[in-house]
Structures are given as structure tokens and as C-alpha cells.
């Protein structure tokens, strides 16, 4: 009878440690996952706040070089802007331009600097158009111009 009481106490003790350990493990794993997600989300929001750019062309005088129209992109954000065909998508009158039809003179620009975008003239006919640039973190800028 004495052994039964002691044995049951030991069983309860071990069971309580296993239960507490399991609860702690699940709680820690869940909380750490949430923390990591919040950190990543915070970094993305930070990048979004630091990203801003604008097209500074003269709407009525788009320069041309060889078979490309030239558009000037100015970094007015707070961070270096990555300017590649992968980081930027270009739409002309709502139609996306395939990546081989445009390119940038540099891979990145610092705040305040200007970069030239070369867009193949076959994708822009004469008349009025809207150019939409969608950059990193889906920050975008629209520009109306006439060829």
C-alpha cells in the first residue's frame, strides 16, 4: 500500500514534468516563429518606407538613342535603389514590357542620383502614353508623355 502511494506520486511527478515540458516546447516554438515573422515583416516595411523614385523626363521631349527611348529615373528615397530588369517591371499603357525590351545603365543608384532606362522604341508608338514603373517592394511611379 505504501509503495502504491509513492509509486503513484512518482508517476504523477514524471507526468507533470512531461506535460510542462511539452507545453513549454510548443509555446517557445510558436512564439519564436511569430517573432521571426514579425522581424521579417518589420524589415520589409522598413525597406518599403526607404524606397521612393520618380521619372523626371520632360513629358513632351523624350530623348531617343539608336533604337531606344531614354527615361530618367531619380532615386528620391532614403536607401540605395537596385535597378535591374528583375527588380523593376515596366508597363506602357497598361501592357507589361518584356525584360529584354528595356535595360538600365547601372545596377544601383544612391539617393539623389539619376539613372537612364533604355526602352526599345518598338514598344512605344507615336502619340500619348502612360509609363508605369513598378520597383522594389511594389513602389511605383506613373508618367504621362507624348512621342
Amino acid at each position: 500500500m505504501g509503495f502504491s502511494v509513492t509509486g503513484s506520486h512518482v508517476v504523477f511527478f514524471i507526468a507533470s514534468i512531461i506535460a510542462a515540458g511539452s507545453v513549454s516546447g510548443i509555446f517557445m516554438a510558436a512564439t519564436i516563429n511569430v517573432t521571426i515573422s514579425l522581424s521579417e515583416r518589420g524589415i520589409r516595411v522598413q525597406d518599403l518606407l526607404d524606397t521612393d523614385f520618380t521619372i523626371i523626363n520632360d513629358n513632351e521631349n523624350i530623348p531617343i538613342s539608336g533604337s531606344d527611348y531614354l527615361f530618367y529615373l531619380k532615386n528620391i528615397g532614403g536607401n540605395k535603389l537596385i535597378t535591374t530588369n528583375q527588380s523593376f517591371s515596366i508597363f506602357v499603357d497598361g501592357e507589361i514590357i518584356t525584360v529584354e525590351k528595356y535595360n538600365f545603365t547601372e545596377q544601383s543608384i544612391r539617393p539623389g542620383e539619376v539613372i537612364t532606362i533604355y526602352i526599345d522604341n518598338t514598344v512605344i508608338s507615336s502619340g500619348d502614353h502612360t509609363l508605369r514603373l513598378v520597383g522594389p517592394n511594389a513602389v511605383d511611379d506613373e508618367f504621362q508623355f507624348t512621342i
Binding site: I17, S24, I32, G42, I56, D58, N61, I62, P63, K74
Partner: protein, 142 residues
């Protein structure tokens, strides 16, 4: 029974302390950086709203077979404009220029000189500030 409850409570309490420590260690730097970025974003937005420029005067000076373009820019906003990050476009094309001042204070003027231009007729000038604010003006070269 009392010992079991105490040990289980202690295990859970220790895990809560560890989780708080890890969470704070990860989140505090992110929140601090986010706050800095937000402050910077707010400052840029305010500067952009309060920034404005005006092309006051345009004149040309003969220079060999071409001419130099002299542009008077006035800061009509209430922010300081860094002329090193301004841009000048003549008929849509980007030209380097020399500025008489590095910093253009409110209600003050600076002189931008664009050298060795050529051609005649009517031209369109666009000046862009460091915040992306711009002004247009036309001029004629005979």
C-alpha cells in the same frame, strides 16, 4: 503532488522568461530601425511638400560656335535645396551644369550654367530639385 505542481510551474516560468528574452532581443532592433525609417520617410514627405523652385530668368551667352545657357533659379519653398542633386533637361535631354551655390536657401537664388549648347529656335527647359520637384520654362535662341 505539491512538488509536481511546483516543478511544472517552474519549467513553464523558465520557458516564458526565455521566450520573452529571445523575442525582445529580436524585435527591439527591428522596431528601432523601423522607427528610424519612418522618421526619415516623414521628413522626406514634409520636405517634398514644402519644397518648390521657380525658374526666374534664362539668358544665353555666345561661346564659340555654340552658347552657354544661364538660368536663375529661386527657391520659393521653405526647405534647403541641395543643388548637387538637382537636374537640368534641355529639350528633354540631360545636361551637366555648374551651380553658383551648393545649397539654395528659401527666397534665395542660384545661377545654373550649362555650357556648349548648340542649335537655334525654341527650347524647353526643365529643372528638377533634389526632392523631384520641377519647373518648366521655354527660351528662344536666334
Amino acid at each position: 503532488m505539491g512538488l509536481s505542481v511546483s516543478v511544472a510551474s517552474a519549467i513553464i516560468a523558465v520557458s516564458v522568461i526565455i521566450v520573452i528574452e529571445i523575442s525582445l532581443g529580436n524585435l527591439l532592433p527591428v522596431v528601432t530601425n523601423l522607427n528610424d525609417s519612418y522618421e526619415s520617410f516623414k521628413d522626406r514627405a514634409v520636405d517634398k511638400i514644402q519644397s518648390d523652385i521657380n525658374i526666374d530668368n534664362i539668358s544665353t551667352t555666345p561661346n564659340g560656335s555654340g552658347y552657354d545657357l544661364n538660368v536663375t533659379i529661386e527657391n520659393t519653398g521653405s526647405t534647403v535645396i541641395d543643388t548637387n542633386y538637382c537636374n537640368v533637361l534641355v529639350n528633354g535631354t540631360f545636361y551637366p551644369f555648374y551651380s553658383s551655390k551648393n545649397y539654395l536657401y528659401p527666397k534665395k537664388t542660384a545661377y545654373f550654367t550649362i555650357g556648349n549648347l548648340s542649335g537655334s529656335g525654341q527650347f524647353r527647359l526643365k529643372v528638377v530639385s533634389n526632392f523631384g520637384i520641377s519647373d518648366y520654362e521655354t527660351f528662344v535662341v536666334i
